[in-house]
Symmetry: C2
Subunit: 332 residues, 2 copies
Amino acid sequence: MTNIRKVAELAGVSVATVSRALKSPDIVSPATREKVLKAVDQAGYKPNLMAVQFRSQRTYNLVVLVPTIANTFFARVISGIQEAAQERGYGVLLCNTLGNEAMETQYASLVSTRQADGVIQLRAFNPFSEKAFPAGAVLPMINACEVLDDAPCPTVKLDNRAAAREATEHLISLGHRRIGMIKGPRRSPLTRDRQQGYQDALSAAGIPLDECLLCPGDFTPRSGYQAAETLIALAERPSAIFCESDEMAIGAISRIKEAGLRVPEDISVAGFDDIAFASYSDPPLTTIAQPAEAFGREAVAMLIEVLEGRQVDNLVLPYTLVSRASTATCRP
Amino acid sequence: MTNIRKVAELAGVSVATVSRALKSPDIVSPATREKVLKAVDQAGYKPNLMAVQFRSQRTYNLVVLVPTIANTFFARVISGIQEAAQERGYGVLLCNTLGNEAMETQYASLVSTRQADGVIQLRAFNPFSEKAFPAGAVLPMINACEVLDDAPCPTVKLDNRAAAREATEHLISLGHRRIGMIKGPRRSPLTRDRQQGYQDALSAAGIPLDECLLCPGDFTPRSGYQAAETLIALAERPSAIFCESDEMAIGAISRIKEAGLRVPEDISVAGFDDIAFASYSDPPLTTIAQPAEAFGREAVAMLIEVLEGRQVDNLVLPYTLVSRASTATCRP
DNA sequence: AAGCCAAATGTAACCGGTTACATTATCGTC
DNA sequence: GACGATAATGTAACCGGTTACATTTGGCTT
């Protein structure tokens, strides 16, 4: 394998000069630089980045922990991460954790073993052991999208509570008073925040909370389908349903239609995320648009700041309510 | 930073003994092993994998080149890759190429610079320069899903021609004779194969080919939407449309309904891929199911075979026609 | 011509493991 | 007790760059 010593020999200079000619061309004489570059070309030399990384103790790799890449929203976030990382010369090591904490911990340890410089987490969980990073130490990590209340690192998220409140208020403004909610996984802070926003809207409108209208889900279309089944079987059926993800909303609409009911005439449905399919569902989905790619881009920018030893503030990204045809005025 | 020398000092042995106690425990005495393990624990020692990799000249990373991770089908393939890689101790470096050949080349060069051991490509293109891997050299690469005719490496794919033929025959068997097709990107071999299958079915049934019925797309819902617009505007409208991806089929259905037409009563629609949303679309989509995760898993298994110097054969995975409600008998 | 400084280049240590080879310890056999 | 075989451990080279420090070169000043 052609290494720097071969090139040095070929150019008739020392290895140090070759290294300098490539890394800081301005400190070698033009003539020498010329010679070196010619030798590099002739030998087909490419620096062994493993050696470079080993020496500099930087891998220029970032680990991304994502619950499931099959989720369209996460796919967009990852897309943003990948793009931003690429621009800044970082690679992206992907870890599909499938909610498995052991796997997250294992991947996060790539940082301890110097296979990656930092971690971007799309899930609320601290994958680092107390031992690897004792309390007080700066974690080379960013939490994005789903965020712990007392996250031990900088975070970038949405104001989920306000967004859910706005979606619910939209339904209330259409005359709905019996509004179902299909929630995310029980232990998720994001789910709790969105539920809080839903309740905020209800109490502001003087509507009492009915626990029966809250159904758990897991963000998949399948869980939305099942939750809708429960909701439409209620003695007093809701006239609208707010779903914590578009994927669940699409599953719910499918079940509602299967029951012979119409959307939005019989039941209005609102989603969350504004995935690509939201505009193509029948009817097109009213939803909260999140800047998914921006989450990824910002997370990368923040992580690199942390890696370079600078202070970073938490970030809250904006959302928009996108009103489409899946929600309409309530007709009793 | 705790390194192997610190541990050696702590345990009162040489670095070689520490290394051996950890890597081949059977060749050190039990007493010494005990001592070493205690020192490792006490020092909180974790081997610096960068050094290990540097020494062994293996990174245990695989590069995955994917046109776009936002595509649900690719997301599933990547999921399979990630899982299989993880099981075998490999990491996955993701590269969202967005069809940009320069980017693919750049990422593939991670192999030349020893930042990754091999490449899995979900797109038909040889990203390696003639210089890095002269003709005849064994490329550390697997082509999956989309495959070059004369791929310079082992491939794992579907019999796209047969699958497209079967989907088209399904439509013909329902009485359709005027069948539109929404294709993938022009230069893709996969698109060409599927079109060939479509034509096979037509000519077997004695139906002449009408070029007007062939619309290009790019696998996104948006392109399906636009192509459908073209097809329904034809003087002699097709009674069925075969789409090369479910995403395009969903976009097409959306446009068809917008035009006041019904699926499948007025126009039958068949897709390709069987993504999660296919069952939840309205109507549920008739489609060709591909074993997406299996593509990923097999590609990893094959690549590791190649990396370990063994011979690998091409692989063809099975498909299934899944008949749902988006296709029905033709009513003139 | 001597003296000085800056620029250019060379030498060799270093990063943290792995492992070939050398050395020492242990045990059994005659 | 001497000898050889084997097991256990130590020593140091090595992977391929980077860089602190040493050395050489060349131009300029007085």
